[in-house]
Subunit: 205 residues, 2 copies
Amino acid sequence: MLTEFKKPSKTACLIQKAATNLFATHGYDGTIMDELAADTGVNKASIYYHFGSKQDLYDTCMTHLFSGVADQVVVAVNQQDSVWEQLEEFVTSFAAAIYTNPNISISLMREMASGGENMPVAARQQMQRLLFCLKEIIEKGAKEGVLIPVQPLTLHVMIVGGLSLYVNSAPLRQSIESSTPDLSVPEMTKEVVQVIKNGLRGTGQ
Amino acid sequence: MLTEFKKPSKTACLIQKAATNLFATHGYDGTIMDELAADTGVNKASIYYHFGSKQDLYDTCMTHLFSGVADQVVVAVNQQDSVWEQLEEFVTSFAAAIYTNPNISISLMREMASGGENMPVAARQQMQRLLFCLKEIIEKGAKEGVLIPVQPLTLHVMIVGGLSLYVNSAPLRQSIESSTPDLSVPEMTKEVVQVIKNGLRGTGQ
DNA sequence: AAATAGTTTAACCAATCAGTTAAAAAAAGC
DNA sequence: GCTTTTTTTAACTGATTGGTTAAACTATTT
C-alpha cells in the first residue's frame, strides 16, 4: 500500500495510470493483473510490492481520479461571481473534465452500477463535493431571488448523469446510424446550459 | 442458443431472469456461471444446453431487458395528445420503469461504460427507440410553435442519464451523510419534469 | 409400448487468475 | 567503499472459471 507520506515513485505512478485506464475500460473484474503488468512492462510482483492488492490499487486509482474532477469543478465555479455564471461554469468545467478524461465518467458510471459498494470513502466524498457545490449555487440564487427553487440532487443527476451518458455513449453513437444529429462537446455543453438556465430562470432569457 | 421460434421453457426463463440480475449486479466479467447455477438450482451444463455460451446468454438478457423499457415508454407516450403531456409521460414512464426494475438503468450504465461494445444490436435499437420517441415529441412541439428548439440527444441524456444516475446511486446516497435532502422517485420525477418543461417552455408555466 | 427427441446430471478439463517466494539487482545511507 | 534498504525478478501456487462429455433421465411422438 502506498503510504500517504511518501511521494509515489515513478513506477508506482506508471502502474496507477495504466491501472486507471484498465479499470475504466474493463471494470474491476475484467481487469487482469497480468495484463496490467504487460501494459506497463512492470513485473507483476512489483505491482504487488507497490500496491498491496488489486483492491488497494483500485481504491487508490478511484480516489485520485475523482478528487481530480471535483477539484477542477469547484475551483472553476468559485472563480465566478454571479449565480448564472457559476451554474454555467459547473456544467462547462464538468463537461470539459470528463471529455478530457473519459475515465472519470466511465468509472463513475461503473461505480454507480455497482451500487458504489467498491467506491472508497475518499472517492465518495469527492462526489459529495460536486453536490455540495451545486447546493451553494442554488442557495445563493434563492437568496438573491433570481432562481426558481430546485433540489441540488436534481441538478446534480441531470448534469452529471446527463453529461456522463453523453460522453460514455460516444462509441455507441458512432457505431450506429441515427436519424438524429450527433452533438459535439461544446454543442452539448451549450444545450445543457441552456435547458438548465431556462429551466431555473423561467424567463427564457 | 434459444431459438426464436420456440417458446422458452420454464428452466430457460428461470435462468434468464437470474442471469439478468447477476449481470446487472456484478457485470459480465463478475458474473460467474457456477454462481448462476447455484442461484437457480440448475446444473451448469443445463445452462449451456439452453444458452450456448455466457455471451449468448448475456445477449439474450440485454435484448429482452431493454426492449421491455422501450415498449413501456413508447406506448405510454403515444397515449398522450399534447406535446407537454407526452414529454411529461416520457419522463414519468421511464422513471417508473427503472425504479420498478433497476436492472435496466444499471445494465444500461454498465454497457455505456464499456462503450456499448457488448451491447447486442437488438438492444441498441431499443435505446434508439427512446431517442426517436423524443425526436418526434420535439418535432411536434416545434411544428406547433410551443417549444424552444432543443436537440433530441440533449433531452435524451439529461432524462435517461439523469434518472439512471439517480436510481443507480440510491445505495450510495443511503450509505452516506449528506447536507442535501434525498428525494423519492415521485419527487425526483416531478423535479425533472419541471426543469425540462420550464427549460423548453421558457415561460415558467 | 417402443422409439425418438429433449433435458439434466456428475464428473471432468485446460486455461486463467490473484497472489507469493526468495534471490538478485538497484538505490540509498553512512 | 561497504552496509542497509528498497525494488525487481523468474518461477511458482492453489483456486477459480467457462466450458465439455456421455450417460441417465424425462417428455413427446409414433
